[in-house]
Amino acid sequence: MARFILRRFLSGVLTVLMVFVINFIIIKAAPGDPIRTIMGKETDDPVLREALMEKWGLNKSIPEQFWSQFSNALKGDLGTSIIYNRSVNDMINERLAATVLLGIVSSLLALVTGTALGIFCARHEGSFIDGLLSTISYALDAMPSFWLGLMLIILLSSKLGLLPTQGMVDARADYQGIKHVLDVALHLVLPTLTLVLITMPGYFRIAKSSIQQVTSEDFITTLRATGMSRKKIFDKYIFKNAILPTVTMFGITLAFLVTGVTLIEIVFSWPGTGRLTMTAINQRDYPVLMGIYLVMSVSVAVVMVLVDIAYAFLDPRIRYDK
């Protein structure tokens, strides 16, 4: 068990290292002169250029540059925005909470609803609802998340005027206390709904197929032959066996979820890192983009390692392997 955790931990560290290396290579290989971007097109003062080179560390050798950036990143310093001249850390920090809120709420909801519907359809295979939900989930799987978000805005808000579509709070009202919480919750509905709909099909499919698969296993037939009640067989034996692939799925979906959150934040003007990504793209603010990429990758890696460890606790077969 300890060895398993250590192994997973090491591969997590390796992942972060790799992300950093890729980042560095891309920036170095990119066409164009970064100094030009900073200075603007009009000025071309050699003294200024020299000073800027010094400031951004571009006059050092490539390995030196790599090392200084890497050690800074290790210390948690992601550099400075070339547009706002602010610390990237600060820029991401003030936005991260909104993203994490949206991400956690929607991933947990998708996990629960997708799994529940999958279980329901597995137990009512061939029923009308099974057919309907399977078709819907196939279609949702093919849907661009941002498009679904736009359509929900058109349907639920523009036409029916039901829910707020932009931002995280009502800027005009400036609520306090419990009213503030309710306001955020109301603004959370549409972005969450979109994300849940987009990520749910994965859980739905995996829950349905693994329930069906476990139900046809010999040990379930044996248990039925013992006269044990169907409820007990399902609650204890089918469920615990069939839930394992869902746990794995949760890890795999994370990367997909992070992408989805970014796009959905842009659709709903949610004040998180997704919006920051958009502005950074438009202004070609590379340190910010790299910072976001690094933060996202590290978060995904950390959660995935945690998910794997949780899996090892649930499945006795893993604990002793390797």
């Binding site: 279609a139 093919a142 998340s145 736009l150 990367a255 992408t259 796009l263 990504t277």
Partner: protein
């Protein structure tokens, strides 16, 4: 061998509904590309003063956008962009995956350990941000988009191919080729790759669907190629007009969904064909 596969494909085509829908759907899309000038009711590149016309108004079946372009005709011309992105990026991804995975699985040892670790890492990190970063740095031409999607999505294919190579390596016909003194590259290209490629082919069609969605997402972030017509960009343009002209985003999104579903169906159907355990019309 080939004849057997062809026979099986024909039988599967008749028996498997998903494969049938997928193949017919994609053939239809190809026909739309070929006959685009005939099918389109207007020139999608012509700007007009008739802006933001609702569907059906003034002979515009699906309305016009903010520049007065005919939405239906843009959709028709957009098929080509989507399919081009799908096929080329999936081909790059498939080729890289097959070669890297095949080499890794066949050679084994330290090479395999390193490559499979890299594959696992790539499967873990959010690829979309990587694509985003590269496109915004290297420029957002459609060629770049296709190459970058291909280059960043190979690990899934490589993983499949590696597993195939690992099992094929132990098979008798490969062992006898080794005994007959054929060189490693010969064995790799003559036996391992051709025999192990089928699951990758099926996966690649899913990759095509993924590429279409990724291109759309990039366009939505303003990183699409401004010189071409793409459904993703139409959704992006329509975003500003969700209240006044919902049809711009709505119809282009539906076009994406239908195309992606065709590729999914094709992929699922191919999986059924290549999976020896899958039998049609099970009796028990």
């Amino acid at each position: 061998m080939l004849k057997k596969i062809a026979n099986k494909c024909i039988r599967a085509f008749m028996a498997d509904r998903q494969l049938r829908i997928g193949v017919i759907g994609i053939v239809c899309l190809l026909l739309i590309i070929i006959f685009a000038p005939t099918i389109a009711t207007h020139d999608p590149y012509s700007f007009d003063f008739k802006r933001l016309l609702a569907p059906g108004v003034g002979g515009h079946i699906l309305g016009t956008n903010h520049l007065g372009q005919d939405v239906f005709s843009m959709l028709v011309y957009g098929v080509g962009t989507s399919l081009k992105v799908a096929v080329i990026s999936a081909f790059i991804s498939g080729a890289l995956g097959v070669i890297i995975g095949g080499v890794s699985g066949y050679i084994g040892g330290v090479t395999d350990t390193i490559i499979s670790e890299i594959i696992n890492i790539f499967l873990m990190i959010p690829t979309f941000f990587l694509i985003l970063l590269i496109i915004s740095l290297f420029g957002n031409s459609i060629v770049n988009v296709m190459i970058v999607i291909g280059v960043t999505t190979w690990p899934g294919n490589a993983k499949l191919m590696r597993a195939q190579a690992l099992s094929l390596r132990e098979r008798t016909f490969v062992q006898s080729a080794v005994a007959l003194g054929e060189t490693k590259p010969q064995i790799l290209f003559k036996y391992i790759l051709p025999n192990g490629i089928f699951p990758v082919v099926a996966n690649t069609t899913r990759g095509m669907a993924g590429a279409i969605l990724t291109e759309a997402a990039l366009s939505f972030l303003g990183l699409g190629d401004p010189n071409i017509i793409s459904w993703g960009q139409m959704i992006y343009q329509g975003k500003q007009y969700t209240t006044s002209a919902w049809w711009i985003s709505a119809f282009s999104g539906i076009a994406v969904i239908i195309t992606v579903i065709f590729f999914y169906m094709l992929g699922d159907g191919l999986n059924h064909v290549f999976n020896p355990k899958y039998n049609y019309g099970r009796s028990k």
